[in-house]
Symmetry: D3
Subunit: 313 residues, 6 copies
């Protein structure tokens, strides 16, 4: 398609989906794509889950679970506040879709709600274990702490930070969302409001991680630990599951965890000795983990692997 290239280029933009008709061939050991026709696709033609990594759980089902959990909050003030947020249609729509992070953990569509639900379960268990923990307060913190991420990130086409997200961060955005809803709840007790705000503000646990205050009461402390634990557990799970290293018992180096992880089962089964990667003195740590592929990426790889060229229509 060396003709009309310029015209074709004008028909679509960055982050658009395009339909390509052409020929893939192996040329000098590398796949080569000859394009015969290309056109911009309409959103209605697209199933996003084909192109972006997504949660294995169904968004609708997760949403139902979240609403049921929130419906069981005993404290009427906290319940009203959390429900006011989830009743907001824009929040509800985005909450079903948003990833929990750009890259570090739960970085896939539906990742945020999946992370929140995991924390809900943990919160119920742990609140039962520690006497004196106010489960309602902890749960409100769990549902609200990351809610600013629905506006901090862009996730319509690829995952990135929004301008507002870059300037303010999800903690400040969440505080603003809470303040907006509280205007409709004039009886919400001011000290309880400060506790909820403090939990959102302090959940990163340390100043250098972006929380300007350290957790100062038990529920805030628990929220921080559970959130950190669940994020890192998911990060390590994905690292091990998605690792493509065929030799040895260690995954590639992961920058977020600042370590490589052991593939425990392979190690216990007496796999061959491996050479685990390390940041060592090479300076640049190895490339990061590859996240769970979208369905499309898998098909594309498959399509390109056969040495025989095949024509697509």
């Amino acid at each position: 398609m060396w003709d009309n290239v310029t015209e074709a280029l004008d028909t679509f933009d960055r982050d658009d989906f395009v339909k390509v008709k052409g020929l893939t061939q192996i040329f000098h050991n590398r796949p080569q794509l000859t394009i015969h026709k290309v056109r911009r696709m309409d959103d209605s033609e697209i199933d996003f889950a084909d192109y972006f990594p997504s949660s294995r759980r169904d968004p609708g089902e997760m949403w139902t679970e979240l609403r049921a959990t929130v419906a069981a909050i005993g404290n009427p003030h906290l319940k009203a506040l959390v429900e006011a947020l989830l009743d907001d249609e824009d929040v509800a729509r985005r909450m079903r879709r948003a990833p929990a992070a750009k890259q570090i953990h739960h970085a896939y569509l539906g990742g945020l709600i999946e992370h929140v639900l995991s924390l809900c379960t943990l919160a119920r268990m742990v609140a039962a274990h520690y006497p004196n923990i106010d489960y309602d307060l902890l749960l409100a913190g769990v549902v609200l702490h990351d809610i600013g991420k629905i506006y901090e990130l862009n996730y319509e086409r690829g995952f990135s930070y929004s301008d507002q997200g870059q300037l303010l961060g999800h903690i400040t955005i969440a505080l603003g969302m809470v303040a907006d809803k509280l205007r409709g709840l004039p009886d919400f007790p001011p000290p309880l409001r400060s506790l909820v705000e403090h939990m959102i503000l302090s959940h990163h646990g340390q100043l250098e991680f972006g929380s300007p205050k350290l957790p100062q009461f038990p529920e805030a402390l628990l929220l921080h630990y559970l959130d950190d634990m669940d994020s890192k557990m998911e990060c390590m799970r994905a690292l091990i599951e998605n690792d493509r290293q065929v030799e040895g018992c260690f995954t590639t180096w992961n920058t977020a965890l600042e370590r490589a992880a052991l593939k425990k089962d392979r190690y216990l089964d007496g796999a061959l000795e491996s050479a685990p990667p390390g940041p060592g003195p090479e300076g640049a740590p190895p490339a990061e983990q590859r996240e769970a592929d979208s369905a499309f990426a898998g098909k594309l790889r498959q399509a390109l692997q056969p040495a025989e060229a095949k024509q697509e229509s």
Copy 2:
């Protein structure tokens, strides 16, 4: 007054002002106070400036200067926002009285407004120096960045953190105050709002100093530098001016500055060699600077210094 002690103790509380009638004597080289009568004073009997360190400038005069500066803001949105805050009576009353910090710098009544006015002058100079700086935006940042301190601190009786101040901090409090006033300004452009919020959020300049975002545009960067410079300059000025060390050319060690300061004039005049204090291996750094005394403290010291006992009525 060994009689009726309990009854007398019940008539006043911590942080109350009391009027004492008694006798001061020197006993074994130490002042001793024999109390004959004691009663709680009413606020109307008290001139607070007699008991707390205060700015040398008149609060009313500083307030007038601030309002005049703000009145000259060209951008109508920014001017409306800042004026909405200063028009709030509670803000106006507290702003005239609040210190800029519990201890580090400008820690006296009227210290906050004095610090803000100093920054206004610096902002005007520096905005004239750097082309492309939006003076209105910078000035709005200057007036609003520390406004949360009026609720973060208690300064009616002694200086301390309020509960809300301890849980949220002045940055978060300021963002809430701005959001409240913006509800009355529906035409305020959202991107401009994000810029103002970012300036408040980032003015500490680093995450470990409690700013969850680094300054990301020139006005925010300038605000951070000017604020930091003005605080440290005032801190060093007070350290040198209030130092009671009689020997040598160095002040006592200052914990906020993490250094002792040179008394330049004395040094240039060829003062005797001094033994500057250092934190060295002694472990505990020397006690902090003593702030400018209140008028009362001065009189009290005077009253106690004469070796002769004298009776007060």
Copy 3:
């Protein structure tokens, strides 16, 4: 007893218990003790729980619970290893008595086993939550990670570090204890041994906290988070419960947590505004929390508080 003082002093030594007969009086507003007779007590006369802070739970009951939990481990190798340690009489005796730390958390007799049992419950919950977690491995890590503390600390008379504890630390001591027992278990799979050793080695989670390796598989990561969370939760609980500050909603400053904690209930009940302590620029952080008193300390305080002198026999 100004006679025979020297002889009396020779009859006992530091950390001995002595029985004193004398008179307590208030002299110049301070309690004064006049000693008439003093003699060293025999250990058989003493109930240590009268003098040292102790767990509220009965040591024997906790021991039974721990043995039952361990008995349910499914993996025969792990079960054999953990039981070999608990069957060791010296381990069993010390395990029932040892505190979990000299000062930071669970710093009372029985504190170690109480902390381990709390972790056992958490481990069971969390292993049920995360698929793929090997509960047996996690539980073995929970029981063994701090077992070196029974030799790292001295807790017969006061709590302090032993010489060996100071030179090697509880992690290295635990590795040695495990190695000793493994000599009697020749079929223990070497890779499984490395996993157990790694969990002990890495449970502090970071190099600067004394773990020379970061947790490298999910069970090790979980152990680290649960241990850290449970320690800090107990530390904050004790801080709030034992705080003697009568005014305000915040406790005194706690050095281990590097913060003061909010007394949430008092705050929600609308307590008076408090002046929370802060490390601020004063340099020396406030004195640390006071641990739960021993029964004796309580009685002693009581005995001294009445203004009337009373004679003990």
Copy 4:
């Protein structure tokens, strides 16, 4: 020119300027240069400003401004010292040419003097604002603090560190230059000398930034803040102005500033949402800003962009 390649290569060396005659063509979508003739150019043929980024201000004009500023210093000792340095012909020649840094800020020919002049203006303003500031002392510090850079850097061909610069740094070099000139000023008061030396020594503000002493008097503290502020302001200005990112409101990541910067005007104008770059977990931060191009680089790019090959003579 596949003939006589070796001979041609011998006629010039690294960092020489060469004149090339040849043909630029587009080959496989990449520009290709076929060389017909190449020869080393003489320095007299070259206008360096064609090849290196340069200040927009004229070096001669800046020099005149600097001399006038210095001529107005009131303190005769300080004036004599600063003038002794500027009267040195080698200093004068290099001062007109040196960049202020290899890469971070003002990294272009004439950048050092431009930075110094900017600081002179700031110093005058700020000294007027803070009573008790000795403007003469501050100005001497401003002119001398970075003067060692004229020998720390190489800037005849490309910008790099000299051997001496690498071994000693510009602070130590400046102290040596000052000491040399002071030998001709026997009446210079020793304490004043220590103040000047301290200002040079401490201007980086912190030990880890290469200042072995922290600023210990107000003029030294001001010098540090102004220097840091002016460097970072220029760095951010250049980052925004030279950014080639066409989409979004954020520049590429800047390593010196450790952030991306917002293009404020574009953001306020309602530009499309952008995906700001972040160092995030990708490990390697994005490539640094591209500095203001030299005139030559611009022409070269222009020459290569047209798809048509054109012949140069």
Copy 5:
């Protein structure tokens, strides 16, 4: 050899040695290797020193020197312990072969024993200098501190970490080796054992470098300093000796040393001014030093450099 490629590939594996028959040619300015025949070689055909960098000293000679040094230890317990380890055949075999590190220093076959012998000499000198140093104890520490490296690293084919090395580290491995041998030495005094273990444990000198305890007695402190000094001296020596930079007086940047090194002799001889590399704001520090080549690598380079193709049989 485009025929039978698959079969040929199946005859060998990663890290195998293969014998290749083919043709090297220069094609488009790059060496190109056409393979005619390829087969896996047997270990018996290979002299490993041809392929891996090795110590310049003979392993057997170094071993003899080490045994003689150890034989002269006066303290019978320490001598027995060290000899028990060196008498272990697997230890002895590996000790003669192991590198001291994967990359940082002494990263060549025989590097570990060479490093230990260097420390033996230093220990003798320094123990003679400081009265009260127990030379036997220091020497035992020198021989044992890194002995775990023989199992921490893989060095049969390339240098990498073993799984056990990655999970436990050489300090923990060494403690296990010592414990194993001590079982055969029942009279070894327990306090002396703690001292030896402490020396191994603390030799990295700081927690963040993987030593969970700081050196607490003079011999442990000396061991740490000598070990650190000898490693860094060898690292800098290799950096300077192997540097391929032809211009200037500075080597390339070294990540382990976090600096470039000066080629002192060249500098003193008045070499041309150089442009030393720095990490500066480019972000990624320059590539690391290239270690002493194996003999094979040298020959290979030689073989590829001539422009003429030559056939190997």
Copy 6:
């Protein structure tokens, strides 16, 4: 002497020596001194070694050893430079008297030269061990690196920093001293000068310890390690030797070393279990080591200990 107190006080000043005639008594269990007569002593009446801790070695003997070592330097330039400094009478006088530090190590009269001589011996040994080390260059670095301390510290009456020492530090002072002497040595090769200056500049080894450059060639690296090792060894030696703790095997906590030290001999002899001090959560680390007493301090303590009052004439 309650009469004429004011007159008596006017006859002497801080840091003067006074002769006191009076009576020491035990009053309420505390020593009490009744002064009958007091007068200022003349310097000629005083043997300073009676009042300040001093080296055990004779200053004259150490000076002779240092001169002999320097006389043997082979490189004529380096020898001339070092001798020019030692020939300076003020340097020579101070060098015999100066301590090596205010408190950390060798903090006694003659401590500096004792430290330098120890390093000379170490330098000779180590230069013999590492081929390619230029012993003359290393030795010059050893003698000159701390020479600025003779002006950085005051040590006529008590040990403290001088004003110049506080403003510039001993590294900058040493560079100035070297520059002064080099003016008399016009043939000194400039590159050699840079090497000497670099060694002085970099000997603290890290920026945060006040060296603005890291050691960049082997002699500079060795100087740093030997200096650090010798300082810490002496610090630990003094800590153990001077410790007054009677129980246990550990010394009190030492702030400079950030640890307590083991009294190895006592530990090996099976001393009782001790409770080593730790900084733990108590916040304030224990008081620092007490340095070797002066003779006078010893006598004073002795004089005060007897319970019987005795009269001095």
